[in-house]
Assembly symmetry: C2
Homo-oligomer: 424 residues x 2
């Protein structure tokens, strides 16, 4: 690094998800040097992660090496490292292996993990979906369940193998339930000899009173009806009270299953802990109107690791466009500060909400305009391909979806990681 570069204002960005990456992009041309830290080497397009879990897409179709994304930005140094803490007094980020990185401005964009509301003991039985490894783990569990059913001779145990329970009917839960139903009912039937995969049960359990609670009532009702039409059993108003190796318990009912998927809640990253800063119940940092941490104007925090009521007084939702808007705001604020210009508070502008229910079925809420069904599905698909980075990934995902759409084939039906252990 040149001496001139060493003298530049140093922005350290932790997390290369939608928020951190957008901050990096929008700081292009600013008089700063940037260190981008992530404990993974890839940026992940999380909105399509459920398609990796359900064998529709390959891992490499929704992930990009972070270094590659910033290769043309010589002022950006990417560090593949795990943050272990923050020393705010010394303005220093602490890393694994005893390394440290000093900063002038710090941007925390560290995201969230799934959470079990005080029932962490459920995790082995009800894995969640946040990383590529989570997705390949879920994929293995779902595919192995069918394989076990094919070998099982006891009808009760076979039925348990063929029962899939998804807990939580937000967008992820709905998308998982719809896709697993299609996998069982359209993709797999011809491949099995001893079981009829069309008889698989897919049960979506939700503690609240409707599916897709973030959507308007009529779209929720449509999604509910559509799920049932493609073979998903929807259970509402029933909080789950236990998950174990035998199945799931909700509202006094016991359902025997070997495959439970957790889509019911998330917990913010440890950013609030690192700073000893106030957080809400889900561990989300409470940030000031300019997205800084109270008492630390040099520390911004954005995305799923924070909570802020900047949507006409409502909390900003935990979705990719929100994280990107926050990342853009932070970059503009840093540039304004360096130029001595004043800044306004962050305001979130909601473009819309989308959720896929199944092949040819989706709901979209653009506020005044609401769409459902096949048209919504096409818009959903085109929007997602548009938001993928680069022609290579767009072509590849389009190719995979073409095969799913036209032939019900899912190329990524691979049982990997521990696949040689067929016991369990």
């Amino acid at each position: 690094m040149t001496e001139q570069a060493q003298g530049l204002h140093h922005v350290v960005i932790v997390g290369a998800g939608f928020g951190g990456l957008e901050t990096t992009y929008r700081l292009a041309g600013a008089p700063v040097r940037i260190t981008l830290i992530d404990r993974r080497n890839h940026h992940l397009f999380q909105p399509l992660l459920y398609q990796v879990a359900t064998a529709s897409l390959a891992t490499s179709e929704i992930a990009w090496p972070i270094r590659y994304l910033v290769r043309d930005r010589p002022e950006v140094t990417t560090l593949f490292a795990t943050v272990t803490g923050i020393d705010a007094e010394r303005r220093t980020v602490l890393l694994d292996r005893g390394d440290e990185v000093g900063y002038d401005t710090l941007v925390l964009a560290t995201g969230a993990r799934h959470a079990y509301f005080g029932h962490d003991e459920w995790e082995p039985f009800a894995p969640g979906l946040k990383t590529l490894e989570d997705a390949t783990t879920l994929r293995r569990r779902i595919l192995v369940a069918f394989e076990r059913a094919e070998r099982e001779t006891d009808p009760v145990r076979r039925a348990a193998r063929m029962t899939f329970v998804i807990i939580g009917a937000g967008p992820t839960g709905v998308e998982l339930a719809g896709t697993i139903a299609e996998l069982a009912h359209s993709t797999l039937p011809r491949d099995f000899r001893n079981v009829d995969t069309r008889k698989a049960r897919v049960v979506l359990i939700e503690a609240g009173q409707r599916v897709l609670a973030g959507f308007p009532d009529d779209l929720s009702a449509y999604a509910h009806k559509s799920l049932e039409r493609i073979g998903v059993e929807v259970v509402l108003g029933q909080p789950v009270t236990d998950c174990n190796a035998e199945g799931v318990v909700y509202g006094g009912n016991r359902l025997e299953t070997k495959t439970i998927i957790w889509a019911a809640g998330v917990r913010a990253s440890r950013a609030a802990e690192w700073l000893g800063a106030p957080a809400d119940r889900a561990g989300r940092l409470q940030v000031a109107p300019d997205l800084t941490v109270p008492g630390h104007p040099e520390i911004f925090a954005i995305g799923d690791t924070v909570t802020i009521s900047a949507w006409n007084g409502q909390p900003v939702p935990g979705i990719a466009p929100a994280a990107k808007q926050e990342g853009r705001y932070v970059a503009e604020t840093i540039k304004a500060r360096l130029a001595g210009r004043p800044t306004a508070p962050f305001r979130y502008s909601h473009a819309g909400s989308l959720a896929q229910i199944g092949k040819r079925l989706a709901v979209i809420d653009f506020g005044r305009i609401k769409l459902r069904g096949a048209l919504a599905w096409w818009i959903w698909g085109i929007a997602h391909i548009y938001f993928l980075i680069g022609l290579r990934h767009r072509l590849s995902v389009a190719l995979s979806w073409l095969w799913v759409y036209a032939r019900d084939q899912r190329a990524a039906r691979l049982i990997t990681q521990g696949s040689s252990k067929v016991t369990g």
Copy 2:
């Protein structure tokens, strides 16, 4: 299953690699029912596995769900199971979970694993390449080595991180060495800030006197020269005497490295053990001229798990076309026996040998015709795309190669499985 089907001659095939799958395909229309057993759920195109390890291809581009490949064959039942033994007297295959499958004819096509010639303690330091998991493990190790080098400040340790050692200069070793050199020298340089990946050392160590010993002398010499031209250091006539966490020892030299890849030898599956049958040093079953196990005319064994001198008195090589020819022969023999027709001994016919050295560089030995360089590379590429199964995989691999070829981009640069553990 109908009673009529139950009465049919039952062929059990263990292993859905090239040999087992070809046997299944060629038995189409025969008056038999088939059980195809594999401990993985996918058929793997092993000749391109090194491209998954070097981030050029995604796992799903060279693997197919076995069930899907035989979905139109109702007489074929696929079992996702691990064979634990064979009771030849009772004509029964023993499976994990206490299951059993009886057979009238048994076909063992169980392949081989990499082997360390009595030095199994080297495996953690010098992993080999036979499965998809092996490939993603190698990929992780190779990519993490560059990441570690980027963070390392000590120049000696940094040099060790940037040194890649491949042991064994057969086709797999040559292909791995050439591709890692291209990754370091063409794909990665712009992505790193602290290290110059073009200075990475790629060292190919071979105990024998030349690379690609199975090829004619002049193609070996060409491959050797080509490897050096793309930046691979070739060390010949030096058996490795130790692999450990610090590096590799050969011929009295010690080379410090954190990334060693084993491509020096294979050992047959446990088929010979299961049968208590005679095997060679590498554990390969010695089969009769009709590929049956001596004393067991009802048990065939094919592919990398056997040794047979059916190539004008020479041993049949351990390559995909040989396994496929043997699979076809076994299917024809089974059909002939059921029809009461006589059979001839198996004879191997060698179509040619191919090896890729790097982008635009390959060698092909068709016997009388020998090719090298760019033309050989194009033929190599077209041949491999041709042998992939299905349009979906062909398009996908062609797309990936186009990006490697035209832009030096490798989409599958993902560090997964244990990627959150950045220590080590």
